[in-house]
């Protein structure tokens, strides 16, 4: 029987790591993630969790230590945010390519400069293509649930990929909410007590992890990784189904809210989705045909689920918390438009950027995104993407007038 408790998302995910009986934790504290490793270090020191806590000197080392731990078959966990994730970058590819199912919680944070410890999704987007399974949380309950689920799915012999669990820095990490904490017995029914790994490094059974990949082998290695990564979606969904059967909470790659039949859909990831639900409710009361799509699974990208979820819509307004400088606008916008390109009855896709570096996105800004999004879909706009919450009229996010092509 679950217990109703009040926890901030950081502590909720620490509880999940404890209940998962994690073997090795290697983490470096960084705002706004600090409470996660702090609470875990306390648990290990107090004997509540029998794990090796490695107080590493950097995030690069944190991820490297986790790779080593995972290679011998240990259940490994780390956590970081923003620039800490950037410092890890190189080793992220090592973890996914060597198929180490490390679980990492990211309390999403903006990137410098100017220095910002507050939330946006710039850190996520820079690690988009690292081959990690990536999911987003909307609230503290989900922070707990996704962390627990991440161990189960990542360690599945048919998956064997590391998993990033994203939740918004401060907005969730430092905010206390009511949530359910399950019994250990329920957790044990969902997640095996010990990780099973047939390739664990063992001096009595020598094998090579991380061999050299000359040009005549590298491509085969990468293609086999990509095929396995795409296939993992089936197991990701299966893991959520089994999670639901035990804990009563069901999750999906794409989660629509009052989206059926809606002409205009707002699409976003993370905690803003809950604010957007209130906006949808208000607009629905006024008789507007609007809905919300919350993207939970960011990688591998759920193409077919997205296409099904938006099939009745005329306009999709995508809200990004990151700029792809000089690119198409926001990374989520770019992915969504690309996923829908060439389908029958392709909806218009309008990109918005907002909520950068911890800027509040109140309901009125989301309302504006809906209204202005519809307007842009109808009349077009010179700007490549729209913005919310910026002081001063935004002009100039567009191509300069000249066209520079070689003379015929």
């Amino acid at each position: 029987m679950s217990k109703r408790v009040a926890l901030e998302a950081s502590h909720a995910c620490s509880e999940a790591v404890r209940m998962a009986d994690t073997d090795v934790i290697a983490a470096y504290p960084i705002t706004p993630q600090t409470h996660v490793p702090e609470r875990l270090a306390e648990m290990v020191a107090d004997g509540e969790l029998d794990a090796e806590y490695v107080p590493v000197e950097s995030e690069h080392s944190a991820m490297s230590a986790c790779c080593g731990a995972s290679a011998v078959g240990a259940r490994a966990f780390t956590t970081t945010a923003g620039v800490g994730l950037e410092l890890m970058h190189e080793v992220l590819y090592v973890a996914s390519s060597m198929r180490y199912p490390i679980v990492m919680v990211i309390c999403n944070r903006a990137l410098s400069a100017p220095l910002s410890v507050w939330c946006d999704h710039s850190d996520v987007m820079s690690v988009r293509d690292t081959g990690w399974i990536q999911v987003f949380c909307q609230n503290n309950q989900e922070a707990f649930d996704m962390t627990l689920w991440a161990f189960r799915v990542g360690e599945d012999a048919k998956v064997l990929f590391p998993v990033m669990v994203h939740f918004d820095g401060f907005t969730l990490s430092h905010v206390t909410e009511a949530m359910f904490l399950p019994e250990q017995e329920e957790v044990d029914r969902f997640l095996p007590k010990k990780r099973q790994y047939q390739f664990a490094l063992d001096p009595d059974k020598p094998m090579t992890h991380g061999a050299f990949g000359p040009p005549d082998m590298y491509t085969e290695s990468k293609i086999s990784q990509e095929v396995a990564f795409r296939k993992s979606k089936e197991l990701i969904v299966q893991g959520w189904k089994e999670f639901g059967e035990i804990f009563g909470r069901y999750y999906y790659p794409v989660e629509p809210y009052k989206a059926e039949g809606a002409k205009t859909l707002l699409l976003m990831m993370g905690s803003l989705s809950e604010t957007a639900q209130l906006v949808v409710d208000r607009k629905r009361e006024k008789g507007e045909s609007v809905g919300l799509i919350s993207l939970r699974l960011w990688r591998p990208f759920p193409f077919e689920e997205l296409r099904q979820a938006v099939k009745d819509a005329e306009t999709i307004v995508v809200f990004d918390r990151c700029i792809s400088f000089g690119g198409p606008g926001g990374p989520v916008f770019s992915e969504v438009r690309s996923a829908l390109y060439g389908i029958e009855r392709m909806p218009k896709v309008v990109g918005f950027v907002g909520g950068l570096g911890g800027r509040d996105v109140p309901m009125k800004d989301i309302e504006y995104a809906f209204d202005r999004g519809r307007e842009v879909a109808e009349k077009g706009s010179e700007e490549i993407f729209e913005t919310v919450g910026v002081r001063g009229k935004v002009e100039g996010i567009r191509e300069p007038k000249g066209v520079y092509l070689p003379a015929k």
Binding site: F199, H209, S221
Partner: protein, 111 residues
């Protein structure tokens, strides 16, 4: 230890060449479950200089064998040493360490 080395060698003999391996044959994470297969791969290809050993000068001290970082120096039954050019990378440590200056490095282009 000796038994293990023998076992590894047998396993290695079953290895295919790269052109026979498809992406479907890759182990999870490109892990090599039969460690020690480097002995089957010609890895001396990128050498730019090769060591030449002059037996006349050699006093069989074995420092070249000891210092070679790639185990490319083989000990022979007569007490002398032979450099295995199949895996020698041409680093020149053997030539540097040889107290009798019996090893010299020559350009690969030279005969």
């Amino acid at each position: 230890m000796a038994t293990r080395a023998r076992k590894t060698k047998t396993a290695v003999k079953k290895l295919r060449t790269a052109s026979e391996v498809t992406w479907r044959d890759m182990e999870v994470g490109s892990i090599l479950t039969d460690a020690g297969n480097a002995s089957l791969r010609r890895t001396g290809d990128w050498r730019s200089e090769r060591p030449i050993l002059d037996k006349e000068k050699c006093n069989k001290c074995g420092l070249c064998w000891l210092y070679c970082p790639d185990a490319a120096v083989d000990a022979c039954e007569d007490g002398y040493y032979e450099i295995n050019l199949y895996s020698c990378k041409g680093c020149g440590i053997c030539a540097e360490i040889c107290p009798k200056e019996a090893i010299t490095m020559i350009e690969e282009e030279e005969e």
